[in-house]
Structures are given as C-alpha cells and as structure tokens.
C-alpha cells in the first residue's frame, strides 16, 4: 500500500528521468541511431573509447573544467562580498534596497539576452573597448570574443556576471540567520572583524557554501546557451566546452551515438559531484 502512494512520483521519475537516461545510455552502445534507417549495431564501449581518446574532446573537457572552476570560485567571492555589504549595518536601509536591486539585475536576464548584451558590449567597436581606450587602459581595440587568448576568459567573465546573484541571495539569507549572540560573544572575547568572519561567519555559512558550490559546478558544466551564442566554441576551439561539443555532434554532425556517449560522460562527472552534494546535505541534517 505505501508504494501505491508513491506510484505517481515513481511513474513520473521513470518517464522523465530513468527512461531518457536509459535511452541515451543504449544509444551510446550502438554505432548510430535516429538518422540511420538500418537497425543499429551494438558496438559495446567503442564509442567511449573513441570519445575519450579524441583530442578535441579532451580539449573541451579541459575548457569545461576551467570555465566551471573559475566561475564557481568567482561566484563565491563576489556573492559573499556583496552579501556581506548588504548585511552590513554601516549602510542605510534605502541604500541597501537600491544595491539589492542593482546586484540582483543579472539574474533577471535569460541566458540568450545576456549573450546578446555582452556580444554588443564586447564587440571590437563596443562600449567596453571605447571606455578602456578612452581611459588609456588598453593600447588598441581588443577582440574579446574572437581572440583565442581572450575568448575563454571573456565567456567565463560573462558567466560570472550572470551567476553571482544566486550566491548573493543565498548568502544574504544565511548571514541573516546567524544569531547576533555569536558575534557579541566573539567581540567580548576580543575578536576583530577578520577573526569574527573567519571563526563565526564562515563556519555558519559552510553548509550553504558547499551546497552552492556543488550545485553551481553542475549547472556551469551544463552551460550551453551562453557559450553557444557568444562564441560557438571558437575561435579555434578555444571556448569549446562539453555542452557545445555534444550539440555539434548531435545536431550538426548528426552523430547521435557519439553525442549520447559524451552526454553519459557528462552525467558521470555530474553524478560524481552530486554524491558529494548529497553527503554534505546528510552531514548538515545530522
């Protein structure tokens, strides 16, 4: 009887999660699917060998890790800094309200709007180059998105800009939940600002930090729209990440088995991270 109550959820999970994952896994074990009118042949792990030994895949994996790790670290630093600022007693309520709106703005835009916006800003004739040139900070026009030495950092910067408000909101909620008693006790013990932050704020925020970092890492590994619409993985594959690489394999090369294989590799990476997330949640509950 208890399982009957669970059946709607189990059915939904089976239809929306288990079945698609199983289908993609099966696709990854055959030679080609969907666009092949003949029945596909079982090839075992050949597709995995092909993908994992592919130089372009390894390049995309490296770019993905750089993009995700830098984004997560920067999101953490910026989100926490702004949250501390908004939680400070030094600012009036009106100023805080104004900055809340300003800081949260990147979050209200969709990824495609952000991509268009930053493509315009980072255009060689765009506002950013104009300002930097005017202030003498760069010697010549910079091709932010079309120079292979700059492009990956440029898209990472855009992702940082678009993603920090989630940290800000979460940290702000966390900071407001820390009892004042702890800080008062710390001050009585002679703690300075840094020591209070180091020994009270950070430990109190630790469960939130771990959860956010793990979730953000998984989301950033999946980031597609932003990179696709700004650089398309170029120039010269300098911004190729796993999501764009998968998209090209599926919808440009029509190699759905290879795309499924890459998707399974991404799933494995994210599952690995998700295990840590679940563990951290359990520890927090305990």
């Amino acid at each position: 009887m208890p399982y009957a109550y669970l059946s709607p959820t189990l059915l939904l999970l089976a239809a929306l999660t288990v079945l698609p994952i199983a289908t993609v896994f099966l696709y990854s074990l055959v030679d080609n699917v969907i666009v092949n009118p003949n029945p596909p042949n079982f090839v075992g792990l050949d597709n995995y060998e092909e993908v994992l030994t592919n130089r372009k895949f390894r390049g995309a994996l490296g770019n993905t890790l750089y993009f995700a790790l830098v984004s997560v670290v920067a999101h953490f630093i910026i989100g926490l800094s702004f949250a501390l600022l908004l939680n400070s007693r030094l600012l009036s309520a009106n100023v805080k309200a104004l900055f809340r709106v300003i800081y949260i703005l990147p979050w209200v835009f969709t990824a495609s709007i952000i991509a268009i916006l930053w493509r315009l800003l980072m255009n060689p004739h765009g506002v950013i180059n104009f300002l930097l040139l005017e202030f003498g900070l760069i010697p010549e026009l910079m091709e932010w998105l079309s120079d292979r030495d700059l492009a990956l950092n440029a898209v990472t910067f855009i992702n940082i800009w678009s993603g920090y408000p989630f940290y800000l909101v979460s940290f702000l909620a966390g900071l407001q939940g820390i009892p004042d008693d702890l800080y008062e006790a710390g001050r009585v013990d002679g703690g300075n600002g840094w020591q209070l932050f180091r020994h009270i704020t950070l430990p109190q925020l630790k469960p939130i930090i771990i959860s956010l970092a793990l979730l953000d890492f998984i989301w950033t590994v999946h980031q597609f729209t932003l990179i696709w619409m700004t650089t398309g993985g170029g120039p010269m594959r300098s911004t190729e990440v796993l999501s764009t690489y998968t998209y090209k394999a599926a919808f440009s090369s029509h190699e759905y088995s290879i795309a499924s294989t890459i998707a399974m590799v991404i799933l494995a990476i994210c599952t690995f991270v998700a295990i840590f997330y679940v563990r951290s949640q359990r520890m927090a509950d305990e």
Binding site: P37, P124, E143, L145, T231, G232, G234, P235, M236, S252
Partner: protein, 414 residues
C-alpha cells in the same frame, strides 16, 4: 418545430460538409516561409492552387526556420514527416540518408513532367530530391558614397577589390573595406564569404565524383591565399572569428564596412535600418584572367515530398504548381527572390533598379552552392572554418589547412 427544422438543416450541412471533407485529399505542407512573407500572401497562393485542383486541400505547418528544421529532422526519424516539406539544401542529405524523402525524379516521370523549365534540381545518387523554388543570391553590396568619395568604381576583379578595400579602410575611424564572418556558431561564412570567391571564378571544392577536393586544389588554394592577404593587409573588419552574418550586415548598414558579400533577402532590412545608405550591388569579383560565367552563391527555399506520404501524386501537383511560371512568379514576387522556374519573372524586377541589376547578375551567372546536398553541410563548413582560422593566424600553412580540412571532410563523407 422551427428549431427542430433548423437543427436538422445544420446537421445535414455538417454531414454533407463532412462527406466533402472526407473526399478531399489534405496535404500537410511544413515550411518556414509563411512567417517570413506578408501576412496572408502565402495562403493566397495556396488558395489559387486549391481552386485549380479541386479535391486537394493544403494545410500549412509553419514556424521559424530553426524550429522547422528540428521538427522536420525529428519527424523524419519517426516516419511522421508532413506530405510536402520546405527544404534547405543543408538538410537534404541527412533526410535522404534516412530514406525520408521521395524521389522527385520518379514523381516527375509518373506525371510526365518536363523539367526543362527548372533552374536547378538537387540530386543525390542520380535522382532529384529537392527543387529550389525561390533563390536568394549573394552579390557584393557596396557603399556607393564611400566608393565615390575615394574615386573608386565597384570592383570586378580580385585585384580591384583588394585595392578598393585598401583605399576604403581607415582604422582610426573604425572603417574597413570588407567583413568576413567566421563564427563557429553559424559557420555559413565559409559558404557565403569564403567559398563564394572560388565559385565566382569557376572553381570547385569537389571532384568529378562529388567528393571533397581540397588538398591539391590550386584554385581553392589561390582563393584562400587571396583572402588571407586581405586579412594581413588589415582591411577586414576586426572580430571576424566571432562575427555572424547579421553583424556583418549591421557593420555595413552603419557605414563601418564598405563592401560585404550579402544575400538579396536583406535588401528591405538594409533600407529599413538605414534609409540614407546609398548602396549598390555588383557580382562577386573574379580572379584575374577569368572571363567565364560567375558562380553565384545562393540560399534556396527548396521543396520535397515525404517518402511516407500516401498522396504522392497530389503532393507533386502542389510542387508542379509552385514551380510553374504562374505559381513561381507569385511566390518569388512576394518573397523578393529569384525564380526556380527559368521563365518566371517576379514583379519586383521591373519596379526596383537594384533588383534589376541583381536579376542581370543572376542571368549572366549560374547558381553555385556546392554545400547544397552534401552530408552534414553545416559541419563541413565548421571543419573548414577551424583550420582556416588557424591559417589566418599564421599557425599553419596553406597546405596544412587544406590537408586537415580534406581529412575532416572525407571522414564526414564516409
């Protein structure tokens, strides 16, 4: 009593209508054209077809280009493709491989159709699977004010183009002679702004068997070398490696780029965006010494029939109408496109001098887009764009570029 009689009459009408509807053959026609045409104009053409072909009704399934592409490829995989489909040359091969398209050669034979009026047919393994019915050619758009200020005529050869681009470039004022979009997201810059130079001089990127002929292709090597010389000379607008087609047009509209290779489909857009822009069009410059007909890059609205349709004869009748002088003239007139029927003459040619020039270019040259019908055409462009970027950066030489691209293309052709 009156109410009962009225109800009976309505019921009879509904039954009669139902019987009529059952007798009619309903063709589903999926395409992306209807949303791009003036409201109601495409339906009016289909109404004319229905009036001339009693018993056939056409139901349109219309959506934006990318949505239509995804839906057609997905429906081909599940065997549920619409009876008649609008096609882009870049999709034909993958649909053909799936066995999703019916042979139009067979349909023409069954209908005893004379195909001599068709401007082009897309053939795979010797049979036609797509007929381009509206064509948008890509000439060179030139900013006349900038050319006149520099005392230059629109260029007709590569050397003249390079000299013009050099004279028009003024980096201090952010003005450049030419723009070449090479974004990897939309790699059609390889087709429209790169290979077009090869086709304009009668060259080809394929061998006689239709297989890749990149390595050892002197005409292609000369073309790419020429394009690199433009980059090296600093006459190409910056940001090329991430630039998309719409940004290229935007640069031209804003007077920051003097010349671009561009589709005629953008005529209206350019005029709307900058009504004061004084521009003209000219054929793509050819290599020195080449005086043969110039291949014109083009994009098409193509049409095909689903292999699974139960109404092949009726579907062919629709294609027959849309490729006839009457139907094709109507369609291309509202689309500002060049006809798929060599005897059709769209209205706009008489009313707009720029279109008149374009039509003259169209008639003097020939339609040339070798990517049409190739397997994974978009990926082929991308596999050329990547090593081309390395070549422009000076990381690899020309031979390496062509060998890398040849290898990648051959893998896709396999």
């Amino acid at each position: 009593m009156k109410k009962l009689a009225l109800a009976l009459m309505i019921a009879l009408l509904l039954v009669a209508g139902g019987v009529m509807a059952q007798d009619d053959v309903v063709l589903e026609f999926q395409q992306w054209w209807e949303p791009e045409l003036p409201e109601g104009s495409f339906r009016a053409i289909l109404d004319d077809f229905e009036a001339q072909n009693p018993g056939i009704r056409v139901e349109t399934i219309s959506g934006p280009y990318l949505t239509t592409k995804d839906q057609i490829i997905a429906s081909a995989a599940t065997g549920t493709m619409a009876d008649v489909v609008g096609l882009d040359g870049a999709w034909v091969n993958v649909l053909w491989k799936q066995g999703a398209l019916a042979s139009l050669t067979q349909a023409m034979m069954d209908a005893e159709y004379d195909d001599s009026e068709l401007a082009a047919q897309i053939r795979l393994a010797g049979e036609t699977y797509m007929i381009p019915i509206a064509n948008f050619i890509y000439p060179v758009f030139v900013n006349l004010d900038m050319l006149e200020a520099a005392g230059i005529d629109p260029p007709t050869t590569r050397a003249e183009f390079a000299a013009a681009a050099m004279a028009l470039t003024d980096p201090d004022n952010n003005v450049y002679g030419w723009a070449q979009p090479l974004s990897l997201e939309q790699p059609n810059g390889i087709q429209n702004d790169t290979m077009s130079w090869l086709w304009a001089s009668g060259g080809s990127m394929l061998d006689d068997m239709g297989m890749p002929h990149l390595a050892g292709n002197e005409a292609l090597a000369g073309t790419l070398e020429y394009l690199k010389s433009l980059h090296d000379a600093g006459v190409v607008a910056p940001g090329s490696f991430a630039m998309k087609e719409n940004e290229k047009v935007e640069e031209f509209v804003n007077g920051r780029v003097a010349m671009i290779v561009n589709t005629l489909a953008h005529f209206t857009l350019i005029r709307e965006r900058n009504p004061d822009l004084n521009f003209d069009i000219t054929a793509l410059p050819a290599a020195e010494g080449y005086d043969g007909p110039r291949g014109l890059p083009y994009a098409s609205w193509g049409i095909g029939i689903s292999a699974n349709t139960e109404h092949k004869a009726e579907a062919w009748k629709l294609i027959d109408y849309l490729t006839s002088v009457e139907g094709n003239t109507k369609l291309t007139s509202i689309a500002n496109a060049f006809p798929g029927n060599v005897n059709a003459t769209p209205d706009f040619i008489q009313t707009d001098p720029l279109f008149e020039t374009a039509f003259a270019i169209f008639q003097e040259g020939y339609l040339a887009n070798e990517f049409t019908g190739l397997p994974a055409a978009e990926e082929l462009m991308r596999q050329m764009a990547e090593p081309f970027q390395y070549y422009l950066e000076g990381d690899i030489d020309l031979d390496e570029l062509l060998e890398i691209a040849q290898e990648e293309w051959e893998a896709i052709f396999e």
